[in-house]
Each structure stands twice: as C-alpha cells, then as structure tokens.
C-alpha cells in the first residue's frame, strides 16, 4: 500500500461496500420495524395458509353384540386435469384414452370442460376408490391430478335402507337416522393456520394455530342386523310369492319399545340414492297410513273388557253374518248365529265387534283409542312418522263406532297398530318406540343413552293378561291366525284383511293383509306386525301375513334365546262358542 492511489481506491471500495451494507441494513430494519406494512401484509397474505380439516361423519352401528357397521365415510379421490396444459401440449386424446379403462368418464361432458383453454381445473371423474386412484397415479400422466374427498358408504346396501336413510354428496343427512342424528353424526371441523415456503409447501414449524377436528359421534341402533335380515328375507320371498305391491313389517321388544327390525318394501340402495324414486324412499312402516281392518278389533274389545262392559263368555247375536244397523248393512266374512266375546275375537266377527263398540259408547271408545296411541304420533326417533287418522269424537256419525271397531273409517301406521298389541303384551303399558340405543363420541364418551319410556297405561294389567289369553286363541285350531304358530311357543295375535278404500268406495279386489302379534303369549318378549299391500291371489291376513310372522318368529326366538313355554292358562270352561248365556 505504498501507492497512494491504490490506498485511496481501497478506501473507496470499502466505503462503497460499507454504504451498500448500510443501505441494506437500513432497509432491513425499516421492513422489520414496520416501515413497510403494505409489503408485509401482501407477503404475509401470500404465505399464510389456512386449511379447514374436514371430519368424517360418525358411523351407524347395529344393536347386535358384534356392533356391525351399517354406515360410514370412506375416503375417495376426485380426478381433475389442467385443461390449459393438456391443450398446449396437445395430449387430450391420449390422456383420456389411457384414463378411460380405469375410471368412469363422461367423454362429452369432459371434453366440454377441457376445451376451456383458459381454465386450469376441470374435474373429469368423482368418487374414485383408492385402488383405482393408485392405478391412475401410476400412469404419471402430465396435467392429471387428484384431490381427496369422501363418500358415505352403506356396506349392507339395501338392508335397513329406510331406517338408515342417506347422506347426500355434501355429507348432509337427508332422511332416516342420517337426518334425525345429523347434529351428532356430522362432528365439527378443525382448522390449521400456518405459513408456506417458497415451493408453497406448509412449514409445519410455523403453525400458528391448530384446532383439532372433532369426529362425528357413532350412533348405535336398537336394530339387530341378523333379525333385520331374517325379516327382510321373509318379506321379500312372501312379496314375490303373493305378487304384493308393497309390504312393511316391524319387530319390537315389548317391555322396552326397542325396535329390533323394520322393513319397508319397495326399498332402495342408499349407495345409489339418486336412482331411487320417492315411493321407494317412503318408510311405509311409519309413514304410510292404512285402514287396519280386523286387527283394530283388539283395541275395542280390550277397552270393553277393561271397562267391565263385557266378559269373555258374554254371548252376542251375530245375526247369521248380516246385520242391518242405522240403515246400513254390516257383514261377517264367515256367518255365525251367536258368538261370545272370546270367539268374536278368534273368529274375527265384524258384527260382534261392532255391537261391543256400540255398548262401549263413542266417548269412551275415543278415549281408549287415543290412550292406545292412535290418532297421534308415537314419537319414534325417525323422521317421517305419521300420526294416523282418528276423527274427533264430535264428528262421528251414528254408525262411526260400529265401523271404527272393525278398522274402517280410521287409519293407522303399522307402528301404531303394533303399539296396541305391544301395550297388551306389556301389562297394559304403551311404551315409546325407539331405534337409537345410544350415541358415543369419538373419545368414548356416551352422549346419549335411551331409556324405555312409558307413554300411557290404557288398560289394567289384569285386562291385558286376559286379552293375551284371548289373542292366543286366535292362533289355535279354529282361529284365523293359526299359520302364525311357532312350535313350542304360544303366540298371541290378530289377523286383518282390510278392503282398500278407492275413490270413496271399498275395493272388492284390493286388500291390506296383516297380522300383528307377540310371543310367548304368557310372557311376551317380542311383538311383530306384518302387512302386505294388495297381495294376489291370496289376500287374507291369515293366509298371507301370518305365515311370515310364524317363519320369522321361529328364527327370532331361537336367535334371541327365548325359552319355549307353551303353557298359556286356558280360559274359563264356560267360554264356548254358541254356548248358553245372555245374548246381545
């Protein structure tokens, strides 16, 4: 450094570098100390990353010890392409040709989307399974991408479709349990707030907020999939055998009101809910009202016995099958001259039931019917329940009670009719039916546990016991429900063959055939109703529905481990058809 010019140059360069450093440091300090708020905000916005963590809906499980899964969310992929890239590289044809064998593609629609060259996103196929998505990924096609999605899956397909309902593609429950339990099933989404690096990847170490997602709770049903399958299989076979238009059936545990099985036909596959028609989606067991016919006699006779107006051996003149009352003729299916109350039920005499109803009186009859849960909803925890039709007593005509007694001029749901029989089976207590046993959160906390609930107490336990013995006679030799018998068990029940009201008249060809009953009759455990709509050529409840009851009940009692006890106390020896006594 002896050269003064060199020394000056060195000082100059150092000063220049120093100045540059000072400017950079100054700028850095300015930016860091908040001088460049606008720039900071822009950069922060670009690098901030917010992700909503979607959660799968809770599962729906059956009530069997195995707790089988009836509905759950399954992860799938949506396949999308970058149209601008495909167009510029001119490989639309080759890409689609290679994808077509692997995934379902609607070519016309896809081409319409892809031809929008300014777009960078066009979905070509949705809800692709993981296996197929892997196959697509292995092709390593440029411009083809995948994003995560999920769908609601119902592994049992059509089974229990009306109870489960379905969740739409947005994951919102739209019918059945999916709708009723929407709040608990859907869970709550989480949130991640973080920063992105230069490659727009999340910098996990810069996470500023992480709210974990709360998974949807699991809903456990009272329905047992094995009992459900038995019932569905029998109903399907009987529908085919009897060329029936529709059918429904419900099985209930009489002591608690738990629904063990519920079938409605025609049904639908909830995995393909879009293809189902409205009539297929209707849960007939709770959402379809029908005139019950002779099964309704049970409620009127129980009321009359409870009031002490009649006794089982009280004789009635059944008019040889034809009775003119208030200018209208009432007929019996089989003509009898005289029947006592026990045989009116066993032989299902319309005239006898009508006379009992008239003795009971309109007001009392109305009170009893409403106490049996008729004319209003029972409060089942499923959407779409109907309350039936039972006109206010003030609007009844002089012949109303005689017609309502035989199940005409009144409309009920299958569940309501089953409720009447189950109340008799349960010592006169009407239980609130329910299908949701419990709801369990992701962490195992029990959010809801249903307990049996008494709705009303329409008849005394002694009357209920007497009714059980009378109903057991219906399934004995000479009764209309003999085909509902189960070997080793006493069955109590009632058949119903109701003409369908069409255009203001009762059809001569279209019937509702039903059987509703319980077993074992002396110590009832399960109650069941089986109804067929327009069966052909057989059309009576005893011929069409009772055999299905017997077939399913025989398997159900074994499955449930119900011990056979064929020891129903016989009725008094004085109870004999056409026997002596006062006649009404």
């Amino acid at each position: 450094m002896t050269d003064p010019r060199g020394s000056t140059r060195f000082v100059f360069i150092v000063a220049l570098l120093g100045l540059a450093m000072a400017v950079l440091v100054g700028r850095l300090a300015y930016l860091h100390l908040g001088g460049g708020n606008h720039s900071q905000a822009t950069v922060a916005k670009q690098r901030t990353f917010k992700q909503t963590l979607t959660v799968p809906r809770g599962r729906i499980l059956d009530g069997s010890p195995a707790a089988s899964i009836l509905a759950l969310n399954v992860g799938v992929k949506d396949i999308w392409v970058d149209p601008s890239l495909l167009n510029t590289s001119n490989c639309i044809g080759s890409t689609l040709t290679r994808l077509a064998p692997l995934i379902p593609i609607d070519l016309a629609e896809v081409l319409l989307h892809i031809n929008k060259t300014n777009s960078q996103f066009a979905v070509i196929s949705r809800y692709i399974s993981a296996e197929k998505a892997d196959a697509v990924a292995n092709l390593k096609l440029p411009g083809v991408h995948m994003s995560d999605s999920s769908i609601r899956s119902y592994p049992q397909n059509i089974m229990l479709c009306h109870v489960l309902g379905f969740a739409n593609n947005e994951g919102v429950g739209s019918s059945g349990i999916e709708l009723a339990m929407e709040k608990l099933l859907k869970g709550s989404p989480g949130l991640i707030e973080s920063r992105l690096d230069g490659h727009r990847r999340e910098m996990v170490e810069r996470r500023t907020q992480e709210i974990p997602a709360k998974n949807g709770a699991d809903v456990v049903l009272t329905i047992d999939q094995n009992l459900q399958y038995m019932l569905e299989k029998s109903i399907d076979a009987a529908m085919e055998r009897n060329r029936s238009k529709a059918a429904f059936a419900v099985m209930e545990r009489v002591r608690t009101g738990e629904i063990l099985a519920m079938v409605s036909r025609p049904g639908f596959d909830p995995n393909k809910f879009r293809d189902a028609k409205d009539l297929q989606k209707l849960n007939r067991a709770i959402g379809y009202v029908y005139e019950p016919g002779s099964t309704f006699k049970v409620s009127v006779i129980a009321a009359a016995l409870n009031e002490g107006i009649v006794t089982p051996d009280l004789m009635f003149n059944t008019e040889n099958g034809r009775w003119l009352y208030q200018g209208k003729v009432l007929r019996d299916y089989h003509a009898y001259a005289k029947l006592n109350v026990a045989d009116i039920l066993k032989k299902s005499s319309n005239i006898g039931a009508a006379k009992i109803a008239i003795m009971l009186g309109d007001a009392r009859m109305d009170r009893y019917l409403r106490s049996f849960g008729l004319g209003s909803k029972l409060g089942l925890d499923l959407p779409g329940e109907e309350g039936g039709i039972l006109s206010p007593v003030q609007k009844w005509s002089p012949i109303s009670s005689s017609r309502i007694a035989i199940g005409q001029g009144v409309a009920v749901t299958g569940l309501q009719m089953l409720g009447v029989l189950c109340a008799i089976a349960n010592d006169g207590m009407l239980m609130k039916p329910y299908v949701v046993k419990e709801v369990i959160a992701d962490d195992g906390t029990v959010l809801l546990r249903r307990q049996p609930q008494i709705l009303s107490h329409p008849i005394r336990p002694e009357t209920a016991a007497l009714m059980r013995r009378l109903l057991a006679r219906v399934c004995e030799e000479g009764g209309t429900g003999i085909k509902a018998r189960v070997d080793g068990f006493s069955v109590g029940g009632k058949t119903g063959t109701a003409q369908k009201p069409i255009s203001g008249h009762y059809s001569e060809t279209d019937y509702m055939a039903s059987f509703v009953g319980f077993l074992p009759a002396d110590k009832p455990e399960i109650g069941m109703i089986v109804v067929f709509d327009e069966p052909q050529p057989l059309h009576t409840g005893g011929a069409v529905s009772a055999p299905v009851f017997g077939e399913v009940a025989e398997q159900a009692v074994r499955y449930l481990g119900i011990i056979p006890t064929e020891n129903v106390a016989p009725l008094s020896n004085t109870v004999q058809a056409d026997g002596p006594g006062e006649t009404f």
């Binding site: 993981a130 049992q156 910098m203 996990v204 080793g488």
Partner: protein, 130 residues
C-alpha cells in the same frame, strides 16, 4: 549498533479491535446455533408432515378395511359364502338344545316328548341359505 526495529512496519493499516472480533465471533456463534436449530425444526416439520400424511393414509386404509369387513360379515354375504362352499346351515332342533341353569343343573326344553320323528326332522331343518 543494531538498527532500531520499525514497529510500524508489522502493523496493519486497519487494525481490528479485539472486542469487535469477540462480538463477531459471538454473532457467528449465534448464527450457527440459529441455523442448526432452524434446520432441526425444518426436519421435524417435515417429519410431522410425513407422519400426518401416514396417519391419514392409515386412517383411510382402516376405514376401507372396516367397510370391507362389514360387507363380509353381513348376513347375506355369510349366506352366499356358505352356499359357495356347499354348506347348509340349520338352526339346532329344540331337542338338541341343552340349557344350563344358574344352579348348574341341565335342562332340556319343554314340549318335545311325543313328537313323531318325521315331524321333528321336518321342523328341525330350517335351512338358512336356500
């Protein structure tokens, strides 16, 4: 006499003060620690991201397996499987059931005493998968 040593000859024109050097060394030390920690946290971040992805993958796989298992153990699938293997499953006849009471005694069920064997055979075979 020796020539006097020129002290200025060995001295730098811009001597660096020791405190400044110490400060710089501390700063460099801090910087190195910072870089190390940053690198470590980045590595951990990547690991977390990888583990999260693996967890999601496993969760998906679990759900798919649960779905498949539910399908396989549905009554209709079991019935088809039995049929495929030529197996016929029947409910046990009532006379084949022995119940053990709480007191330990054995009890066959009631109501079987006098049934003819032909009837027993017919009633006992409720074929489940026909």
């Amino acid at each position: 006499m020796m020539a006097k040593k020129n002290k200025k000859k060995g001295q730098s024109k811009f001597p660096v003060p020791v405190p400044l050097v110490a400060l710089l060394l501390v700063l460099v030390g801090f910087a190195l620690v910072y870089v190390c920690l940053h690198s470590r946290t980045e590595t951990l971040g990547r690991e977390i991201r990888g583990l999260e992805a693996a967890r999601d993958r496993l969760r998906d796989q679990l759900v798919r397996e649960q779905c498949e298992w539910a399908k396989m153990q549905s009554p209709s699938s079991l019935e088809q499987a039995l049929k495929a293997h030529g197996l016929v499953m029947t409910w046990p006849g009532r006379d084949q059931i022995v119940r053990v009471r709480y007191d330990g005694s054995l009890d066959t069920l009631h109501g079987f005493e006098s049934r003819p064997m032909t009837r027993v055979a017919r009633n006992n075979r409720i074929v489940m998968n026909d």
